[in-house]
């Protein structure tokens, strides 16, 4: 087998592996946000969150405590919260271009489908007189 043929086979295998991986994993932006009704500052990137949650609670303080881009597949990925809790995120299935994720953040356990440029907010418990939120969205 010539060197060129070997390289061609290697390239094809690598490319197909990347395609296979793309079908079995999704990228998710995971932000942990501290929210409080006490007067404070709102991170400019969280103004949409303030507006969304404003229907129930008027948060006057919104601060990002952590932000990370996850590659989520069937194996759960853990996101730690500053109140000692941790969330696990895993891919339930990927059908028709729509991924369904399972998010466990005790005591809650939810499954939801991803959507383009949309966000999923899950309350993560109390912390420092306010609330922690796990915000999962499409990476920018």
């Amino acid at each position: 087998m010539t060197t060129l043929l070997r390289r061609t086979v290697l390239f094809a295998v690598t490319a197909l592996a990347s395609v296979a991986f793309a079908d079995g994993a999704v990228a998710v932006q995971a932000d942990v946000v501290f929210a409080s009704t006490a007067k404070g500052t709102v991170d400019p990137s969280l103004e949409k969150m303030q507006q969304t949650l404003g229907a129930k609670v008027k948060y006057l303080t919104l601060e990002k405590r952590s932000s990370q881009k996850l590659t989520v597949d069937a194996t759960p990925v853990t996101v730690a919260l500053p109140n000692g809790k941790s969330a696990s995120v895993s891919l339930e299935h990927l059908k028709g271009g729509v991924a369904t994720l399972r998010v466990k953040l005790p005591p809650a356990d939810a499954t939801y489908s991803l959507a383009k440029d949309k966000a999923f907010y899950l309350q993560g418990g109390a912390h420092e007189g306010g609330d922690l939120w796990l915000v999962l969205s499409q990476p920018k």
Binding site: T2, L4, L5, R7, T8, F11, A12, A15, L16, V19, A22, D23, A25, V26, A27, T52, L53, A55, K56, L91, L94, G96, G97, V98, A99, T100, P106, P107, A108, D109, A110, T111, Y112, S113, L114, A115, K116, D117, K118, A119, F120, Y121, L122, Q123, G125, Q138, P139
Partner: protein, 202 residues
Amino acid sequence: MKNPAREKFLPMLSPYVDGELTPEERQQVDQHLQNNKESAAQVADFRAGDGLMRNALDLQADDVDWKKFTEDVMARVTPEKLPLFERLKLTLSEMFLYQRGPMVAGLVGAAAAVAIAIPLTMSLVGQAPVGYGAGRVEVQTVSVDTEATVKPVVFETESGDAVIWVVDAPEKKDGGRKKGGGSDEEDIAPVPPTDEPKQQDL
């Protein structure tokens, strides 16, 4: 009267002038020429003849026009340049004839690369990333631990986002269950279609 020494060295005089003798023979001829004027004169004649002949040849060479010599020679040894299509055809036929394996492998590799690159490009340009094909987030199931004294409240906004609140529910004894399923609907948080949550949930 014959001179034996001259007889011996006579055949060596012309090679001597042309520089074709060994160092030993040349030394012997040199000694002979010192002792024999007749041979020395003959050597002088040889050298004069060589000089005349060289001058004559140089004069003849000067008369020739060498300007177009290189072009004429190259014109005779270089074949006529083929048209572009013919040259490409010839090159390809030679490559397939002498390098068939690498050529076939290269073509297969190029075809595979195109077959992979086109769908990838199509999926990346102007379309949602993998997994984000839906237009709005939809909560499919939600529950809480059975011993928890809280219950989940779900609402999906008009803009397509989804929010899950976890609110106190002192009377709750079992965990939540799938959204829209089960018989204990009071334990399941409602999912209003708008941003406005139901006040009794909070």
